[in-house]
């Protein structure tokens, strides 16, 4: 809410600039910003139209002579439909600056001299929807005679300086001038002078036509009405209107304006009904019947839910309680007798109704956050008083009570020492008691104990911690010196699993892969693409878009998106990885398991053409090398194997493998299937995905240091011819199974499967290394082992030793 300084001055002395006040209030209470209306506007004055005649060359323009307080009237051509002789209007003089950089200059309009412009409110800064209806399609007319030449902006409140309070939901007490005056007053150590509203007792009439009741006293703790009879409805005085449009409220008539004005003063919404339009003499607050229809003042029809709270007279719905009035009993220019309502409705109920019907507004906003139930009755009196002040009132009824709940001030007990302790300060009890006093809290001290009685406007206050906040903010956070917690020393750190994950990430960073972060919410197609475990999908109840509807089951779809995004921008050589969670939902359960994965994608060249090198495109074995290095850093005892698979739908059936640890699957690696690549607009790409949690759970190696070998190793080369279908992994396993205890290495150094070997065969070359850590190996020992190896290969794989 915007607090006008000119209005605030009625409560407390205002001696600082709006910028200073906004800054100070931000630091002690509520985030605020300064607002200065009318900045850059000038030469806008009151004009009195002294004569008017039609423009000779136009059927809608008029030529007006206007008294702007100078010796001679000035001539202005005006096209507004509502211009007439004798009116007091806003004149933009020659050279005037209007909003949005608009400038007024004298000139000729269809040949007739025009020395300015007669303006509408929307042309000088009032947003069109807050301009009174009568003036929306024309110029503004002052309701009363004003001095020609006077500053129009000042008269219209459009030079107001305001502090815009951006309240947090707990501080709705400042959604009224009274509460705001208390808050800003406490900041500057000024107690606000707030006058209570009083009735003209001579007009109060004991008899009433209407009875009121509420169905659910919990939902409607207060429901008060007053009848006002023989009133006049008309335009409100300018002082009231300008305050309303500066609050972004459209002035309508003096009854509705008075009701809104009270809401701004007290924070208490007031509703007005035309008494004569009520169907029955009974007003009831009840829940709507499901499907019941209600027509708003703007004629829009709403279908109500049984959770909507309504104000009704018989079957006639007067309003959606605390949210909006209806068309049926609306106060119009013809209204003679009215009913004013001041009530408290349950905030949650109002919030839901307002949300349900998309009708959040000034009243519902206040009910949602809470209104002061100590001022319900007084606010109603104030509304009566304002209607009386702005139009005639014949008689006023006594208060008609549908429900009334006694407002009990909250009493909070606390201790000076505990308050200090929580702040980390050592304020004297006098200092603390003084702060309570500034806030208008009644505090009693008994030794270290304080008992603080909180006025009903501060319904956000309930516990000692609330007192702590009040004391420290008014004392000033800037006066608080920082310290560090002084308790027992603790040893911080990552969990072992997190450290393990970090280590794996480092192996990929070290191998040149860039780290990415992707969204966990994916489209249905994406979550199905690499759902290798075929886990149940987890879907959001209310997704925003189809792109982010399901929880991911793999990190690969995100990585593929990244590759595609980059390659579309000519970043063709991509090596990326991500470590994050995927969601694996066990059958029949609601809650998915969150499993840590580490996955990568590599596409394009791993070496580029340069002055001394030729480019090399990534292949399966490059990526396998990356994975192997990562796995070696798991420090797992397990034996990792790559088991060819053609079962992963979106991978190349001849270039993919499951990765197993002692036979148990921990991940996969492979080239993307050509059709998947095409569909996703990526070049040849290789991916891998590993389950970090499973790798973490593997038994760790126990490393026992061994001295570097002192004795030389002996090597033998083995060349064989073998059927194409035999995998090198099988050969190497067999070599190790038969190589004896001195075989320490078996590397493939040659693979040939061209025209120089038997059809259906391939030629393989292995370099075997033998070493005895404790002695020099003899040729004989090595030959023996070599023979066993060869023999086994011949038997098992029908190899030809070359």
């Amino acid at each position: 809410m915007k607090i006008s300084l000119s209005w605030l001055k009625e409560y407390i002395p205002v001696t600082h600039t709006v910028e200073e006040i906004a800054n100070k209030v931000s630091l002690t209470g509520i985030e605020s910003s300064p607002v200065k209306l009318g900045q850059g506007l000038d030469k806008l004055v009151v004009g009195h139209i002294t004569s008017i005649k039609p423009h000779p060359d136009s059927d809608h323009l008029n030529v007006c002579m206007v008294d702007v307080g100078e010796d001679e009237d000035i001539q202005i051509v005006c096209g507004a439909p509502n211009v007439a002789n004798g009116q007091y209007v806003i004149v933009a003089r020659h050279g005037a600056h209007l909003p949005e950089g608009k400038r007024i200059k004298h000139g000729k309009i269809r040949g007739i001299e025009s020395n300015g412009m007669i303006c509408g409110l929307d042309e000088i800064g009032v947003p069109e929807k807050y301009v009174p209806e009568a003036f929306q399609n024309g110029i503004y007319l002052f309701p009363e005679a004003e001095k020609p030449g006077a500053d129009a902006l000042v008269l219209l409140g459009l030079t107001d300086e305001m502090v815009d309070l951006d309240i947090t939901p707990n501080r709705a007490d400042t959604l009224g001038m009274n509460g705001a005056a208390w808050e800003i007053g406490a900041t500057y150590n000024e107690k606000p002078d707030i006058k209570s509203a009083e009735l003209d007792e001579s007009k109060v009439n004991g008899s009433v036509d209407i009875t009121a009741e509420v169905d659910d006293e919990k939902l409607v703790p207060d429901f008060l009405l007053r009848e006002l009879k023989n009133i006049t409805v008309g335009e409100s005085p300018l002082w009231m209107q300008r305050r309303l449009w500066n609050q972004n409220i459209q002035p309508v008539n003096n009854v509705i304006d008075s009701a809104n004005y009270v809401m701004i003063e007290y924070g208490q919404p007031i509703q007005a009904y035309d008494l004569d339009k009520l169907q029955e003499s009974n007003v009831v607050v009840r829940n709507a019947k499901s499907g019941e229809k209600f027509t708003l003042e703007d004629k829009e029809e709403k279908v109500l839910s049984h959770n909507d709270l309504i104000v009704a007279s018989g079957s006639q719905i007067l309003g959606l309680a605390g949210v909006a009035g209806g068309i049926d009993a609306r106060v119009t220019a013809d209204t003679k007798n009215i009913l004013l309502e001041s009530a408290v409705f349950d905030g949650a109920s109002v919030r839901k109704s307002a949300q349900r019907h998309d009708l959040r507004g000034d009243a519902s906003n206040r009910y949602e956050k809470g209104v002061d139930n100590g001022k319900v009755s007084e606010a109603l009196v104030r509304a009566v008083q304002l209607v009386e002040q702005t139009g005639n009132v014949g008689s006023i009824s006594k208060e008609i009570v549908g429900n009334k709940t006694e407002a009990k001030p909250t009493v909070i007990k606390g201790s000076i020492s505990h308050i200090n302790h929580l702040m980390g300060l050592e304020l004297s009890s006098d200092e603390i008691m003084d702060i309570f006093d500034r806030l208008g809290f009644e505090a009693k001290q008994d030794g270290d104990n304080v008992t603080v009685t909180i006025p009903t406007r501060r319904y956000d206050m309930s516990i000692e911690a609330d007192l702590v906040e009040e004391v420290i903010r008014i004392y000033g956070y800037e006066n608080l010196k920082g310290t560090l917690p002084s308790g027992m020393e603790t040893s911080g750190g990552y969990s072992p699993k997190r450290e393990f994950g970090n280590k794996l990430r480092n192996t990929l960073l070290g191998q040149g892969l860039d780290e990415v972060i992707n969204f966990a919410l994916l489209s249905k197609a994406e979550v199905k693409d690499f759902n290798i475990k075929e886990t149940d999908l987890t879907k959001l109840l209310h997704p925003m878009t189809e792109d982010h509807e399901y929880l991911r089951t793999s990190l690969v779809p995100g990585l593929i998106n990244n590759v595609a995004y980059n390659q579309a921008r000519n970043n063709n050589d991509i090596a990326i990885f991500e470590q994050a969670r995927v969601f694996d939902r066990p059958k029949g359960e609601d809650r998915p398991n969150e499993v840590e994965y580490i996955s990568g994608a590599v596409s394009g060249n791993i070496a580029n053409d340069s002055w001394n090198t030729t480019s090399k495109e990534v292949d399966f074995y490059d990526v396998k090398g990356i994975v192997e290095e990562l796995l070696s850093f798991t420090n797992a005892k397990a034996h990792f194997e790559y088991v060819a698979t053609d079962q992963i739908t979106n991978l190349h059936p001849g270039q993919s493998a499951l990765i197993t640890a002692d036979g148990q699957r921990v991940g996969y690696i492979g080239k993307l299937h050509p059709s998947y690549q095409k569909e996703h607009n990526v070049n040849d790409a290789f991916v891998f995905e590993l389950n970090v949690d499973e790798l973490f759970d593997l038994n760790k190696r126990k490393v026992q240091s061994q001295a570097a070998p002192k004795y030389p190793s002996v090597s033998r080369d083995l060349a064989i011819l073998v059927g194409k279908e035999v995998e090198s992994g099988q050969i190497v396993n067999d070599i190790f199974n038969n190589g004896g205890k001195y075989l320490i290495d078996a590397n493939i150094f040659d693979l040939y499967q061209g025209s120089h070997v038997k059809p259906g065969h391939k030629s393989l070359g292995y370099h075997l290394v033998f070493q005895n850590p404790n002695d020099t190996l003899t040729d004989e020992t090595v030959e023996q082992a070599f023979d066993v190896i060869k023999e086994s290969l011949v038997q098992k794989f029908n190899v030809e030793i070359r």
């Binding site: 509520i30 985030e31 947090t168 939901p169 501080r171 949650a348 919030r351 505990h418 302790h421 929580l422 702040m423 980390g424 300060l425 911690a465 702590v468 906040e469 420290i472 903010r473 956070y477 608080l480 010196k481 920082g482 310290t483 560090l484 917690p485 002084s486 308790g487 027992m488 020393e489 603790t490 750190g493 969990s495 997190r498 990430r505 990929l508 960073l509 191998q511 040149g512 860039d514 780290e515 972060i517 992707n518 969204f519 966990a520 919410l521 987890t538 959001l540 109840l541 209310h542 925003m544 995004y565 970043n571 990326i576 990885f577 994050a580 609601d590 969150e594 340069s610 002055w611 001394n612």
Partner: protein
């Protein structure tokens, strides 16, 4: 010619030949030819039997000297040729050091991870545990245990992705507070923990909003923690992240799970508080929210709020990184354009 003269002649010729040699091989040949067993000096010494006995020692000495002198001449020339060869080789091997390198690239940690890990390490240094928590969380922990019951208006501040009525994508890492508090054994010292991780909100993605982003929650619960401790802790954090001369200020705010609650501003690191575009000419930048744990939050975890108090704070790594590096679009973090990612190599 006397033997004496013959030897002197051999010496003269030998030394001259050594000096004339142009290749190492010539010198090697010369040594074998002149000084070897079949060489002229050996041959000449066979004439020793014709020399009178008293002259023999003198001739012997001369012969040795001749050998030595020739040897020396050969060695000198050899070393001269060697030096020339090395010089030539060095000259030939000269390269253009400005030609591009054979790159050996280490990958770049994602800038958000760098930002988060920098903050994690700062708090680990202060004795905080790192506990990442759950991304799928119960309504109970995400809201109710944070003093946000079902109808609380604060639920409007964060629209939530629900999976079921009771399960949701956590909207805040504060959701970890209840779990950390209820599982902590206070007899072993204070609870000091930070919870970094991914959170989710029902927001449309645009330059300043993302339906997925990161948060780091910090929590200390002990018998003696105060607002002053909160201020000191956050002061130290902001100086670590934004520079040693930074000041911070607290402004009152509202969060259901802290009381008092504050927004924390850091003095602008760009203009040192003078006012610039980054701080919107205020000299201050809002960086995080914090407060003292609400007594209800402590009590719901079985902690006696009359004895214990807590400080809690939550910060957004995206915001930190955007401020620090002038990133203007939050979506850049999740598009993963490698040109964007790689510019942050080694910043943390």
């Amino acid at each position: 010619m006397s033997l004496n003269d013959k030897l002197k002649d051999l010496r003269k010729n030998g030394i001259n030949e050594a000096k004339r040699a142009e290749r190492l091989q010539e010198l090697n040949d010369l040594r074998v030819n002149l000084l070897g067993k079949k060489g002229p000096i050996t041959k000449a010494l066979r004439g020793m039997k014709d020399v009178p006995a008293e002259e023999r020692p003198e001739i012997g000495t001369l012969a040795n000297n001749v050998k030595k002198d020739i040897q020396l001449a050969i060695e000198e020339k050899m070393s001269e040729l060697n030096e020339q060869m090395i010089a030539k080789k060095l000259e030939e091997e000269k390269i253009d050091v400005t030609l591009p390198a054979q790159s050996r690239n280490i990958g770049t940690r994602h800038i958000l991870k760098q930002t988060i890990e920098d903050i994690e390490e700062f708090f680990i240094g202060l004795g905080y545990r790192v506990d990442a928590g759950h991304e799928v969380e119960e309504d109970h922990y995400n809201f109710e245990r944070l003093n946000i019951p079902k109808d609380h208006p604060a639920r409007d501040m964060q629209d939530t992705f629900y999976l079921t009525d009771e399960l949701l994508m956590r909207t805040q890492t504060s959701a970890q507070e209840g779990r950390d508090m209820e599982s902590h054994d206070f007899s072993k010292g204070p609870l000091k923990v930070i919870s970094p991780g991914v959170v989710y909100r029902r927001d449309d993605d645009d330059a300043t909003h993302s339906h997925q982003f990161h948060q780091i929650e910090g929590l200390v619960v002990d018998k003696n923690v105060s607002m002053a401790d909160l201020k000191g802790t956050l002061e130290a954090l902001c100086r670590h992240v934004f520079g040693p001369n930074r000041e911070i200020r607290f402004r009152p705010s509202y969060f259901p799970f802290t009381e008092p609650s504050v927004e924390v501003d850091v003095s602008c690191f760009n203009c040192n508080g003078q006012g610039c575009r980054i701080c919107k000419y205020t000299g201050w930048i809002e960086v995080l929210g914090a407060g003292l744990s609400h007594p209800n939050v402590l009590e719901m975890s079985g902690i006696d709020s009359t004895v214990y108090s807590g400080i809690a704070f939550g910060l957004g790594p995206e915001r930190f990184a955007m401020l620090k590096y002038g990133i203007t679009d939050i979506r850049d973090f999740y598009l993963n354009d490698v040109r964007f990612l790689e510019q942050f190599k080694g910043v943390n």
